[in-house]
Amino acid sequence: MKAIWSITKKELLSYFTSPIAYIIISIFILLSGFFFYSLVWWFNSQAMQMAQNPYYYQQVNINQMVFAPLFHNLSVVLLLMLPLLSMRLFSEEKKMGTEELLFTSPLSVGQIILGKYLASLIVLFFMLFLSAIPTLFTFIYGNPEPLPYLLGYLGLFLLGAAFLGLGVFWSSITENQIVSAVLTFGTLLLFWVLSWAAYSARGLWQDVLNYLSFFEHFDGMTKGILDTSDLVYYLSFAFFGLFLTYSVIQSRRWR
């Protein structure tokens, strides 16, 4: 664990000594703030109109009307931005030749991968945490249900963790950071649109495609439903990415 942590510390240092982490985090906060602001604005005007009719007034729900769409928007932003966070993890080491230092140290390949992955998760956590601060004010001025709210953020974190797992894999393939980012982005997009393909598919195929799609699993969480199959999906997706990374690094050395 100590070994993993020393890699993590080093990665965090290089994230925050280069502009990349600052830019990604600030843009994310900015976008998140904008979405939140406009959703609240829209919610206000809707709530005002609905207040005139007692039937509709019961339907007013800040979780459904503000947070669910916010989480959906943020999930797309994550898809666009996280490949930039993971792209340098292994490709930079390869390009700079520092890979030789890591792989001739007494650390195992697994420890190195986990250390790097953990660092990207910490940045992700930090990013979500900062973006969540403004939304906390809804608890002062309104009464949203805390559980779906927390589950939504948990869902975003898990979704991001899956994205990053895949990103780590692509960065171990190439020494070019842009190639790594584009490949990650392309793969994520593919998994995103699988649910569109699922519309036209029938029977078993429809189930399979729906299961594979990122966002089908995300829906439930924004509504406050925690399904273990969603958890398993994201965790196994992340694990799969890391496992592929491990195989790539090992096989490259044996070739």
Partner: protein
């Protein structure tokens, strides 16, 4: 300290090194010598556990490189050809990071950094970012990261490449100073470096072992003739003839302003030569042995393919 047995590495169809067997003793500086693309880097990468060999085995510091990889990595310090540096770190934080991944106990980490900074002469740059220090200092940081965990064996891949002459002298001094506590193996294709720094050599060419041993042994084994260079006040045919008449001298020739004398291996005619010079009052100014001439030795070994 380092021992290989039939070490072979293939990249697809390309054979990088072939049935390499050599032995390196403890506490000396060994040069791994060979022309470009001879397999030096591949050999070093296998010894450090970065690459696995296709066949054969290697033992470093008593551990098998393939079966006890972690123990081997713990007892090796390695400077790859491209110095593995993180430009955004300071020298000190970089050394701290390397100490951590080389599993230096936390209580000794500070002392290890101090010691290494001292040995590698990095005091003046320790707080600076690596991207802002000169090439010579970067090379020193590279050597510093290789010795931070006080390994038994230090492997340096072309440690002086790309440096200016003054820096080369400094780095060579640094490497020589490591000899007392560590076994050092360095690769190079600069012959002068070997005579100046190393105690022994392993010569490889096209992935095959050509020769290995201490420099003296090798020169003795490969030299057919022994001889002297003489600088005299007067050097002409008359003088040459005087030497040619001396029993045992096989060749006496003029090379520039110097006279080169040769006799067959095993004899020692130096005394007779001096006596002759004094008796005939030839005005002896300078005299040196033709002994170690690494260029000649190397060319003979690499092109001749003689094996020991």
């Amino acid at each position: 300290m380092i021992e290989t047995e039939n070490l072979t590495k293939k990249y697809g169809d390309l054979v990088a090194i072939k049935e390499l067997s050599f032995k390196v003793e403890k506490g000396k500086i060994w040069g791994l010598l060979g022309p470009n693309a001879a397999g030096k880097t591949t050999t070093m990468r296998i010894l450090t556990g970065y690459l696995p060999a296709t066949e054969g085995r290697a033992v470093v510091a008593g551990y098998d490189v393939f079966e006890q990889a972690e123990a081997v990595k713990q007892s090796i310090g390695y400077l790859p050809e491209t110095v593995p540096l993180y430009p955004e770190m300071t020298v000190e934080s970089y050394l701290g990071f390397v100490a951590e991944i080389k599993k230096v106990p936390k209580s000794q980490k500070k002392a290890a950094i101090e010691r290494t900074v001292e040995i590698a002469g990095l005091k003046s740059v320790r707080k600076r970012l690596i991207k802002n220090i000169s090439r010579g200092y970067r090379q020193r940081v590279g050597i510093a990261q290789a010795i931070i965990h006080n390994p038994q064996v230090i492997i340096l891949d072309e440690p002086t490449i790309g440096l200016d002459p003054a820096q080369i002298v400094e780095i060579r001094q640094l490497i020589r100073s490591l000899k007392e506590e560590h076994t050092v193996m360095l690769s190079t294709h600069i012959l002068a470096e070997v005579t100046q720094v190393c105690d022994g050599v392993v010569i490889i060419n096209e992935g095959k072992l050509m020769a290995s041993g201490s420099l003296e042994e090798l020169t003795k084994a490969y030299k057919e003739k022994e001889g002297l260079y003489l600088r005299l006040k007067k050097a002409d045919n008359e003088v040459l003839n005087l030497f040619r008449q001396l029993p045992g001298i096989e060749k006496a020739d003029l090379e520039g302003s110097e006279i080169k004398l040769e006799w067959s291996k095993g004899k020692d005619l130096r005394e007779q030569v001096v006596r002759l010079c004094l008796e005939k009052q030839l005005g002896l100014l300078e005299m040196r042995s033709t002994a170690i001439n690494i260029e000649e030795l190397y060319l003979r070994i690499v092109s001749g393919g003689m094996e020991q």
